[in-house]
């Protein structure tokens, strides 16, 4: 639901990096979106088409790399993906975990001309 704010930030960051390199055009953007960041690709794409209009990023392609959540059980070492009904370790039922990945919300790179 907060994709407009997220998309605006993506555009701001991309334009800043492009300006530093005197780019004429941004052709591609590479986003890393963790599962727990609660961002919907389609919504970002929808807002992107609107807010990038008239900028040097207009028409640029958004590439999404989705990162599933992975937890490490601190009791038995098991690495697992939690489900929407169960978060504890499927092997030992431990509840002490570390989040290995799935939190990301990053602009990784852009392609410029």
């Amino acid at each position: 639901m907060h994709e407009l704010a997220v998309t605006q930030s993506v555009l701001d960051i991309a334009l800043r990096h492009a300006a530093e390199r005197n780019a004429r055009r941004i052709t591609d953007l590479y986003l890393v979106i963790g599962q727990w960041s609660s961002i919907v690709d389609d919504s970002v794409q929808f807002y992107w088409d609107i807010i990038s209009e008239g900028t040097i990023a207009q028409g640029a392609t958004l590439h999404f790399r989705r990162v599933p959540v992975e937890l490490t059980c601190l009791d038995c070492g098991q690495v697992y993906q939690p489900t929407s009904e169960e978060l504890v370790c499927p092997q030992c039922a431990g509840s002490r975990v570390r989040v290995r990945q799935g939190d990301e919300l990053q602009l990784e790179a852009i392609d410029i001309e």
């Binding site: 997220v6 960051i13 960041s37 978060l87 509840s95 990053q106 602009l107």
Partner: protein, 226 residues
């Protein structure tokens, strides 16, 4: 030929930077601030009303209320005795650091001890936007169901306290407290929790005592830094 430029920036870093500015402003004035988040109807405003009344005469309270369209919540806060500023987000589903920044400008921070920010009712978006407050508090409620930590992990991970409201309804709705708490334990180990009912008043004293202690500790730490 296109040229690849590495960026590697957190997308919401601009908001995070502004949140730090808000924090600095609060710290300069010595105001302890909490951000209260919850789904719509969980009891944010009721908890705040009880908090304002419960701390009357002990702490000087200010409020920032985020709402999509009305000022009803700020009105309730004012009626209970707090200085309140309303932010109408105009449809936005969360408060962000910019909105809080402009609200802070409307408050006389030198006259406050505790600032309560009431976020927009929503379990998804507010979790991503730091505001600069010192603690994030989630109000959960029994009728929402015991699966909420599992459905909204981002929210449950990003808070320093969980208030479980409407415990007077436990006999009437299916709610597995141990399943609910197990989810919280995985997502946010050791997070402080309060079980209470704003309707009956049960459990409210523990919450008020904790909040008062937070403000006290904040002030002591601030005095030591000086």
């Amino acid at each position: 030929m296109p040229q690849r430029v590495p960026v590697v920036e957190n997308i919401l870093s601009a908001n995070d930077r502004l949140a730090l500015e808000n924090r600095a402003r609060l710290d300069a004035a010595g105001v302890f601030a909490i951000n209260i988040m919850a789904s719509p109807g969980a009891g944010k405003t009721s908890l705040i009303e009880h908090t304002v009344r419960g701390l009357e005469g002990k702490l000087r309270l200010g409020m920032i209320n985020g709402d999509i369209a009305t000022s009803l919540d700020a009105d309730r806060g004012r009626a209970a005795g707090a200085t309140a500023v309303q932010i109408n987000t105009g449809g936005d589903c969360h408060l962000d650091a910019v909105m809080v920044q402009s609200a802070l400008a409307q408050l006389d921070l030198s006259g406050l001890d505790l600032l309560i920010v009431e976020n927009v009712g929503n379990l998804v978006c507010p979790a991503s936007f730091q505001l600069g407050t010192h603690k994030n508090v989630l109000v959960a409620s029994i009728p929402e169901g015991d699966d909420k930590p599992y459905k909204y992990p981002g929210m449950y991970r990003g808070v320093e306290a969980v208030v479980i409201n409407k415990i007077d309804l436990l006999p009437y709705v299916p709610f597995r407290m141990d399943y609910f708490k197990q989810g919280i334990e995985v997502l946010n180990p050791g997070v402080v929790q309060f079980e209470l009912s704003c309707r009956t008043g049960e459990g409210l004293p523990a919450w008020l005592t904790w909040l008062e202690a937070q403000v006290r500790e904040y002030r002591e730490a601030r005095r030591e830094r000086k």
